[in-house]
Assembly symmetry: C2
């Protein structure tokens, strides 16, 4: 995750321990769910002490960041594969969203915990937090790609903020998914299938005279309130414990 530069040629002892704990945690979360996996159990299973786990991860929640990063990486790869050769925008968008559902499905059980954090602005895990800005930007870029590779025509004004909006749209889908208890998230998949063409139609409409002023206002609104200007630079980095 972090760069580790200084020494290490392949994988310092420290780095090994760290990922051993992370892997163990991820496995147990998947096997027993988040709540039923205790820090003691993770430590025991990994063959270290509880305190050691806390040396590498500031809290139990921070272990989830591992899940988040992993899902994001797989999501991007899967989306690129699924979009390959397609230029129809709705198809590409649907590919991206369906890919997310495929990748995240195994974690559905404890994804709830993830979303709990989303509602807490103080949590570094919140998708809106400064700490997760890089991860967020990665996904925004993915949607930029979804858009760029399509034949969809829209004015530059719109094109600029759209990736951000599509990311927000994905967050909405994820919220829907978290609440969805149907097997294999069938309901969410249907929702996506029916929602995607509508999104495309709204985007098309945005070129009509009638709607233009509304679009312009919406654009300005998003710029003023939603998209952060570069995010405050100042020190954080304090994501880990370091006494």
């Amino acid at each position: 995750m972090e760069n580790d530069a200084p020494t290490a040629s392949k994988a310092s002892k420290s780095e090994q321990t760290r990922s051993l704990i992370l892997e163990t945690a991820m496995r147990l979360f998947q096997e027993r769910g988040y709540d039923k996996t205790t820090m003691r159990a993770i430590a025991a299973e990994a063959g270290v002490s509880v305190g050691n786990a806390y040396y590498y991860f500031a809290s139990k929640e921070h272990l989830i960041q591992g899940f988040y990063d992993r899902v994001t990486q797989e999501h991007i790869a899967a989306t690129r594969a699924a979009m390959h050769g397609r230029t129809d925008f709705p198809e590409r968008l649907q590919a991206a969203l369906t890919a997310w559902l495929d990748v995240a499905e195994p974690y559905h059980g404890f994804a709830v915990q993830f979303f709990r954090n989303a509602a807490d602005p103080d949590s570094p895990l919140s998708p809106f937090s400064a700490e997760s800005y890089p991860a967020r930007q990665t996904v925004v870029d993915l949607y930029r790609e979804v858009l760029a590779g399509s034949t969809m025509k829209l004015d530059t004004e719109m094109a600029e903020i759209l990736p951000e909006l599509l990311w927000l749209h994905q967050m909405g889908i994820v919220l829907f998914w978290v609440y969805d208890r149907t097997p294999n998230s069938t309901k969410t998949r249907d929702f996506v299938r029916r929602t995607t063409p509508m999104v495309a139609r709204v985007m098309n409409l945005s070129r009509y005279k009638l709607i233009r002023p509304l679009v312009r206002d919406a654009d300005k609104l998003v710029r003023d309130f939603i998209v952060p200007e570069a995010v405050e630079p100042a020190g954080h980095k304090a994501s880990q414990s370091q006494r």
Copy 2:
């Protein structure tokens, strides 16, 4: 919350204890925040035992339901007062949203904690849960009122689902508010001020031929996926303990 019907003419001893605990909890939550208020502290301050608190409230979270109900009641009253005499839809909508912000402001500090828990579909406190269906419906009815009292014209099809959508819209605003750290939630208030007329414009547009099919699809989508048909009746009542 529960009905208590059987005996009690004015306020059975039981009912007194119950509300004593609730009032104490609400006060401490406000004074110290949710996390820093311990169940032991609540019990001590109320002059009862911890176990007794758990006799009346299944969990610490359940105490928050009190906050939720109170805010809802005040919100409805404040909105009616603010809308009085106005028939312009955007004005009425803005009145409703601003009223919420006014009423909820004192609790901003621990509303975060509340929303954290609310994001959990398993929690009875979730705004989407079956348990909070009545409370939700109360607010949906409020928005029905906002709409009905306005001069805004829209076809019946639209008018039917719109209250639900406006409730959803309010949820979005609340999410925004939770993240807003400006004094007196100025940013959220600006957001509402600028957002409200746009909502009205979208609603107006919905009558144009060009957009009609889109609206029809959206309507169907909402009916199929969002608005629950009376909420499943069956078990899973098992969310809480009850000896």
